[in-house]
Symmetry: C2
């Protein structure tokens, strides 16, 4: 089969790879129905993260089960499944505590290279969630979003402890930030401030439920949030970027005693203990336990209650994956959907 | 009247100061019934925090109201009151959100110098909580503890989101750490691990509800906690020291997705974003919103449900305040109670 391989920063190729096979009796192999490029893939594409050797890439996917190993009990060939970016057993203490992305036996799906025609899924029973039926094609993008960005936005809102009636600010207008707007709306936030300087993303944020747009960044952005909140800051702030500046902006925009949920993979970020102390702000982040949410999120997608699909504003055949990366790198696209 | 004044590190004197007076119509003046020395006072006493000029000191107190300003409505002369270490109006947005220690009009009681015979209390209606009746003398130490250490331990447990049935570790065996053990017990923790190397403090922790004692520190302490928790760490960790080492120990002892409540004033602490991210641990700290708890805590003290009083293992006449500092500095006492 063929799949994407990153050879060096800026150099993603669609090439022949071996067919994935069942390696362990808990594995499954799926035929990819849709996959996509993640903002975090760009860290390698831009050379921020090192690319030591040619490596398969991609970690978001929906598909149809082709084959399962001898110890797979719940997942069956023919099912339409949504996966998550870490394989997890769903039985270890961390999984039981609600953190499958910290599963004691987790395996990064990135290592499998999910921007490909077929994918080996380790720990299939724990990792995959089957949809009731084969979904309408119209729901495909939203279901694919549940395998990472929608679940990550959802976690950001839960980690920041968004409550009904609150004011929530979202730092970052990428696909995750936009999904975080949906999550804040679903959790009942009254006022949702999207911090964005890009017109098309502002429009999407508004369509997703943002009530206000703030275009300023850094100290000016913080000042705008405070103006909107009687001088104290937002109840909850969802940090969806991962830079030193965005994290500072998030912390400073939060009211005393509020919460920050941070899901942008931190690059060079450190939090001053004394500052955090004096702010009374709670901080929780991490790779989202995306496996926990699909049962709930799939229902909301299928019923039409949420529709994160439009974060994909570019759809390409999988073989044009390189162009998918370029478009996102050059900010011509928010997120690229790839169809094998 | 007379009160404690710190002149330089190691030099606390009991000397004549002016009588406190009503300066604003929202003030009260109380006659101190009991006061004490805080672990945080030792930061100045030991020269870690600079002492620029002779300054009144002390911020924990219970007393009887002597006089109130013209705008004080709820507090009346003759009432027995428990205060907190920040004066707060109890009406601003931060107070209403549950964080009076971040009141927009807060005033540090340390500036009033509460280790003294009388104390001016700014924002008296917001700051003071009156007991139903003049308490039994036997309850005096526990009520005094509610003005800081018991409330601070309570906040540590709430900030770490201690839940019924959980395993909780407490880093720090000072008065706050010991009170945090009580708080964890009251919130229903099943297993409470006190990290302490001092026999007398271990005994007190056990009396307060600790089920286990860990004497190791640093990486060895973390390893012990993990051994006790199927390898993953405690559900919640209460950090009651404030050093780089104690914070690291707290973070590393917490299971993925658990919570750290940190109430030791941080000195030189910074938290790596990438580490916090990969841990899924939630962190909340700060000067405890102690004003929020006395109504609840006073009831528990008076009914005999909690008895933090024994954290005071040395009682001296207020005029011997200097000896009270020395005893704590030399770790001959956990906490010194001072009676005018």
């Amino acid at each position: 089969m063929r799949g994407a391989v990153i050879h060096a920063p800026g150099d993603v190729r669609f090439e022949e790879r071996g067919d994935p096979r069942i390696l362990h009796p808990t594995d499954a192999v799926i035929r990819t129905v849709a996959t996509c490029v993640c903002g975090s893939d760009l860290w390698s594409y831009r050379g921020v993260n090192a690319v030591e050797e040619p490596s398969p890439i991609g970690h978001e996917y929906v598909g149809v089960v082709e084959e399962v190993g001898g110890e797979v009990r719940q997942i069956r060939p023919g099912q339409f499944v949504v996966g998550s970016f870490f394989a997890s057993d769903n039985t270890c203490p961390n999984c039981r505590n609600g953190y499958p992305s910290n599963c004691l036996h987790r395996e990064p799906m990135q290592a499998e290279g999910c921007q490909s025609e077929y994918i080996r899924i380790p720990l299939a029973d724990g990792t995959l969630v089957a949809a009731q039926d084969t979904p309408d094609e119209a729901h495909l993008p939203s279901l694919l979003a549940c395998s990472d960005v929608m679940g990550t936005g959802w976690y950001a809102a839960l980690a920041a402890q968004v409550q009904r009636g609150q004011t929530v600010a979202v730092v970052g207008d990428g696909a995750v930030g936009l999904c975080a707007v949906i999550a804040a709306r679903e959790l009942g936030a009254d006022r949702i401030v999207a911090m964005s300087r890009h017109k098309s993303r502002q429009e999407l944020a508004t369509r997703f439920g943002a009530t206000d747009i703030v275009t300023e960044r850094g100290a000016e952005g913080v000042a705008r949030i405070k103006e909107m909140t009687a001088g104290i800051g937002a109840d909850a702030v969802l940090e969806c970027v991962g830079t030193v500046e965005s994290m500072q902006q998030a912390l400073d925009s939060t009211r005393p005693g509020g919460g920050v949920g941070f899901v942008g993979v931190p690059h060079g970020v450190s939090i001053e203990g004394a500052e955090l102390f004096s702010s009374h702000v709670a901080v929780r982040g991490g790779p989202a336990p995306v496996r926990t949410y699909p049962p709930e999120l799939i229902g909301r997608v299928v019923s039409g209650r949420i529709d994160p699909g439009p974060v994909f504003d570019l759809t390409l055949p999988l073989e044009q994956v390189a162009e998918g990366y370029r478009a996102m790198d050059e900010r011509r696209a928010i997120k690229t959907l790839l169809l094998p």
